[in-house]
Amino acid sequence: MLLSLILATPLLASLIIIFLPREKTTWPRWVGLAGTLLALALTIRVFWMFSIPAAGYQFAVEKPLLPALGIQYALAVDGMGLTMVLLTAIIIFTGMLASWDALERSQEFFALLLILVTGVFGVFMARDLFLFFLFYELAVLPMYLLIGIWGTGKKEYSAMKLTLYLLVGSALMLVGILGLYFSGQDHSFHLDAIRQKAYTREFQIIFFPVLFLGFGTLAGFWPFHTWSPDGHASAPTAVSMLHAGVLMKLGAFGIIRVGLEVLPAGAQAWAPYLGLFTLVNIVYGALVATAQTDLKYVVAYSSVSHMGIVLLGICMLQPVALNGAVLQMFSHGIMTGLFFALVGMVYNRTHTRNIPDLGGLAKRMPYLAFAFTVGGLVSLGLPGFSGFVAELLVFIGAFATKPVLAAIAVTGILFTAIYVLRVIQKIFFGPMHPHFAMLTDANAVEKVCLAVLMLVLLGVGVYPAILLDVIDASIQPLHAVLEALP
């Protein structure tokens, strides 16, 4: 019931926004804020009530939707799903704050944003693959309009590219899902029923890569990542936050939920090869980020690199690395949300994102500089913040299984440090351009937005067990499945 409420809250807010009078441009943001705050409160309540010793799926809701085809409205969360729901709730709440001043066609903007979030919540909760797919597409499509209308730069190109890439990805997913559905005797889309089917090893080896590539496209898996830097760079602030922060996690989440849990033998056969590609993600993403001059492209390529760490952790098929991967999904989500919020705030003031044109901004906006530094330190994995714990776990797991891969992957961290420190030094320190002298620091709304994100990063960094215990509750059963493989 609680899960249905979390799902219904943004949808309802979106419907209310559609029916608001058009001339009241500030009303939609209040409705949106109320809706997302309520969703966040409900999520925290679920998080509180989640029983770690019980593990498994909790808060289940099931209603038949199309019994003839074995489709049901089935929601439930396990530790991993819950972590992702929490991430989504935090990002959309802060995203609302970050786009507080987005008043151009605000009604459509906030309505679309909230529909997108409904889709994201749905994917993380769905226990039925039809529902999973439905919510997945619901989360992808509003992106076209959000980037196309409110974006910057070559927005129409980016929006179309992103949409077509992701839909081709979802086409692969659909083929994979139908394959899972029709194999064997009992036809059901329920994940519990699907997991009970004993798929043959041959079947798994054929279908795992189909699903992996379908989900991997959304997770920014190299070489299918090229939609993501363009998309992130062109999108308006809140959309970049959601997109890099949450949407890319849908892909990684899908790989674990559908790929690993349902087709473990396929994963075992393919993971060593796919792991090589994730190295490209990590190292190449970081290298390209160092070469960028557009601030948003730096952050966008850093997402490709960090998502590589998530995918590497998944490909290790090892409990420590998997725990790290899921924690990295959360940590990177919050961190990149913080980055994109900051980039948006800086851009709103300076009207440029070109790094050489910026400089010395810390004198005028110390709060933004501080927050950016925090984000940067998380990004390069400084102990005390969540990114350190997550990446450490992934690398520990990786060294245990594939030491050579791990050694190469760690070099990515080095490049990350280079571009992060270079960017911070360049835009916030050094001599200030005289025409920036009139700029102001963050206002109250922006401060709250950034503070929430920074506190989460710090809190998880200091006391990672608050999330890791929850995540581990869902990784252990998966580990048992992987262990049982021949």
Binding site: E108, F130, L134, L145, T163, S170, L174, V175, G179
Partner: protein, 475 residues
């Protein structure tokens, strides 16, 4: 006597058809609104009769069954929506309103005989009755050369297609010695299936059907006819004619010729693949929204043929569901086209620039209709496609499903072009504000919007109905 009762819906329809034709003669001053309401009433009474009339068959020729009822309901709904769409539209026409209604109802009557036909000659006659009024309606704006061109092209190719189809049917008759579908099916099972005459007949039949349901490479008439026809007629063509064509195909192929399913299934699978790919590729460069929707509907026909390929019973029930979803979706899209055509006189995509700011409601409906056509959740088109693709996948045509889902992604490209014009482009300078939509058209929009959403999120009842009615097709 009781058998004659089975013809009740057709009789009622014929009475109202006569009323539509002669009302002007008796009461010359009859307002057009009254006539339209009368016809709508006629359609409603017919619908009631369709469901009230008991199931049964008549001389081995005419059959009243659930499948026929389902199809008739879709056709009636399409006709009613078209009447509402045309309500204010024909002010620009030179032709009288009663002729329009008469021809529309005549076509519906033909579709009724297709839906109930159980015998090749009756099916053929029904098809002719359904097609030729639409040919006339296509050329309904003689002042517009495109309308005349479209009508002429349609006429010639429809006649050609009929000849091909009839030739195919006559060869099938020659091979089996019967025109009754059930007897035909039995004789084929007893061993007539391998006759070369039958194979020839089947190929001609498929070509003729290909014209009717607009499959590549027999599709070339459709874009011109769709573009030239007055838009409400285009709506009728794209929804009702398509439904009738598929019902005809189901009756002849699935009921009459299941014994040679291997042959026609393979041919149709290839035609489906070619049609959807060609339709989607050809739609990409279109600048005229009617042509764009024409090519889109060719692609949609390609998807629907997959339902025939997937055969019974899942495939056919998916096809019926798809037809129902397509009814609401396509009529919704065309309703917006009509509203803009009334207001601006243009059917070019440029007329849609900035529609989101000029009329948020029209923009939203068009957005939902186009996304539903592309198969995006939670809209009717998504559920229909999911169901259909699942059914085809279940029959082992995995390559066809892969192609179809890739095609769906491709189709989104041109649907998004229209959406971009509506939402992202700024309106051009000095665009006059849109006049308010007349109530009949608003009613169409409300009904179709409801249909798109309801069939998308709550598919249960219609899916169940579709499954129930296709069950007894094979007795």
């Amino acid at each position: 006597m009781s058998q004659w009762m089975l013809l009740l819906p057709e009789c009622v329809l014929t009475i109202f058809l006569g009323v539509a034709l002669t009302a002007d003669l008796v009461l010359p001053a009859l307002p057009r609104r009254v006539l339209a309401l009368l016809v709508l009433l006629g359609l409603a009474v017919t619908a009631a009769c369709v469901w009230w009339t008991p199931a049964g068959e008549f001389g081995g020729v005419f059959l009243n069954d659930g499948f026929g009822r389902f199809a008739k309901t879709i056709v009636l709904a399409a006709a009613a929506l078209v009447v509402l769409c045309a309500w204010d539209f024909d002010l620009v026409w030179l032709r009288p309103w009663n002729e329009f209604l008469f021809l529309l109802l005549a076509s519906v009557l033909g579709m009724f005989f297709i839906a109930s036909g159980r015998e090749l000659v009756l099916l053929y006659v029904g098809l002719e009755l359904a097609t030729f009024p639409i040919v006339l309606l296509t050329a309904y704006q003689p002042a517009d050369p495109k309308s005349a061109e479209g009508g002429l092209k349609f006429l010639i190719l429809a006649a050609l297609a009929s000849a091909v189809l009839l030739f195919g049917l006559s060869l099938i008759y020659a091979a089996t010695g019967t025109t009754q579908l059930t007897v035909l099916s039995e004789r084929l099972h007893q061993g007539a299936a391998s006759s070369p005459l039958l194979l020839m007949g089947l190929l001609f039949l498929l070509a003729g059907l290909g014209f009717k349901i607009v499959l590549a490479p027999f599709h070339t008439w459709a874009p011109d006819a769709y573009e030239g026809a007055p838009t409400p007629v285009t709506v009728f063509m794209s929804v009702a004619s398509k439904t009738a064509g598929f019902v005809l195909a189901v009756r002849i192929l699935s009921v009459g010729l299941p014994a040679v399913r291997g042959t026609w299934g393979a041919v149709l699978a290839v035609l489906a693949a070619v049609t959807m790919t060609l339709g989607n590729l050809a739609a990409i460069p279109q600048q005229n929204i009617k042509r764009l929707l024409a090519y889109s509907s060719i692609a949609q026909a390609g998807y629907m043929v997959m339902g025939l390929v997937a055969f019974k019973p899942l495939g056919l029930s998916a096809l019926l569901y798809y037809l129902a979803a397509y009814l609401f979706t396509n009529v919704a899209a065309f309703a917006v086209v009509i509203a803009l055509e009334r207001a601006t006189g243009s059917v070019e995509i440029e007329a849609y620039y900035g529609l989101a700011e000029r009329s948020p409601r029209l923009a939203l409906l068009m957005l939902l209709a186009l996304l539903s056509l592309a198969g995006i959740p939670p809209l009717a088109g998504f559920t229909a496609k999911f169901y259909l693709f699942a059914a085809v996948y279940g029959q082992g045509y995995i390559w066809l499903v892969v192609l179809a889902v890739l095609n769906s992604a491709l189709s989104l490209y041109y649907y998004l072009r229209v959406i971009r014009a509506i939402y992202i482009h700024q309106p051009e300078e000095n665009t006059p504000p849109l006049p308010s939509t007349p109530w009949p058209l608003s009613l169409v929009m409300a009904v179709t919007l409801l249909g798109i959403l309801l069939l998308g999120v709550y598919p249960g009842p219609i899916v169940e109905a579709a499954r129930v009615v296709v069950g007894p097709l094979w007795f």
